[in-house]
Symmetry: C2
Subunit: 197 residues, 2 copies
Amino acid sequence: MTVSEIDSLVYLMSKLPALGPRSARRAVLYLLKKKDSTMAPLITALQEVYTAVQPCPICGNMDTQSPCHICLDKKRDKSILCVVQDVSDLWALERSQAFKGVYHVLGGVLSALDGVGPEDLKINSLIEKVHAGDVNEVLLALPATVDGQTTAHYIAESLDGFPIKISRLSHGIPIGGELDYLDDGTLQTAIKTRRSL
Amino acid sequence: MTVSEIDSLVYLMSKLPALGPRSARRAVLYLLKKKDSTMAPLITALQEVYTAVQPCPICGNMDTQSPCHICLDKKRDKSILCVVQDVSDLWALERSQAFKGVYHVLGGVLSALDGVGPEDLKINSLIEKVHAGDVNEVLLALPATVDGQTTAHYIAESLDGFPIKISRLSHGIPIGGELDYLDDGTLQTAIKTRRSL
């Protein structure tokens, strides 16, 4: 193809995490076929997000307000700090509507393989927050992977000595999950940590 | 979430054919994390395509030129007309670099289930092109589905009486395809239409 404008748009779209070259072409064609009803609103929405959204200087959330609406919310319990790997995890927890504290986005987890050390993550600013004294509990909502749990242990050790509670999300069978499809590790954990009805 | 700008962008992205709500959120977060290196070029590319790309009045291809670069190309054989369902098929054939004629995009295939009749497709303008007399061969490059083949037969009947050759793409085993993974219909066709080495 010699159509460079379309090609370069397909190339940029194909770099998005869920898209490859083929699905990016399909997406661009979809936009081209309904330019006014799909492409124009998408351009406007992208421009609005581009100009308005910034990372929150306190927690690392992405928001149009700075600090973000969670950090500014007076109803949120500032004494419970939930540590998450990424903004997407923060959004997932917000969708669950089960957490009423505030967040701290690490920006990743420790990984020897990927060369991610403590200095690459927002661990120092977490310790500073706890040091400042307003935090009673740190909830480590990190992924149940080797790297995630290594990071959780590293943070727990770093916070050793502070008079705070350190908690983690419980492991077990996902709600709606079929036992047959679950991995052995999850089943073992669910049996070991069984609770009386 | 109360972040309406991000929400509306995620919603618009989730309408793209390859994306759902979850992958759209991931894509938006990816863009937000590297705003200047990913989001700014994407906005620019979208704007360029939005303003520059139009459907070709002759063949239906999407291009920055009007008529498109294929219809304007003097090296292309105007006497062979390749009928395709959609612009994506035209692009796929162009990538193969095997076809040196010109195209005619139908904009779909006949479908009783979806209520697509001949008047919904660019069949009349195809007949007019053949009627004008410059076409020697019509290659029906339509999908090997029931609807695609019904459409091919409908067009072949509509062009009955014109002194032209009507052809279709050959069916058979895809290059690199394992026999084990192929459906019965393809294998039957490949055996029936076997060729001597």
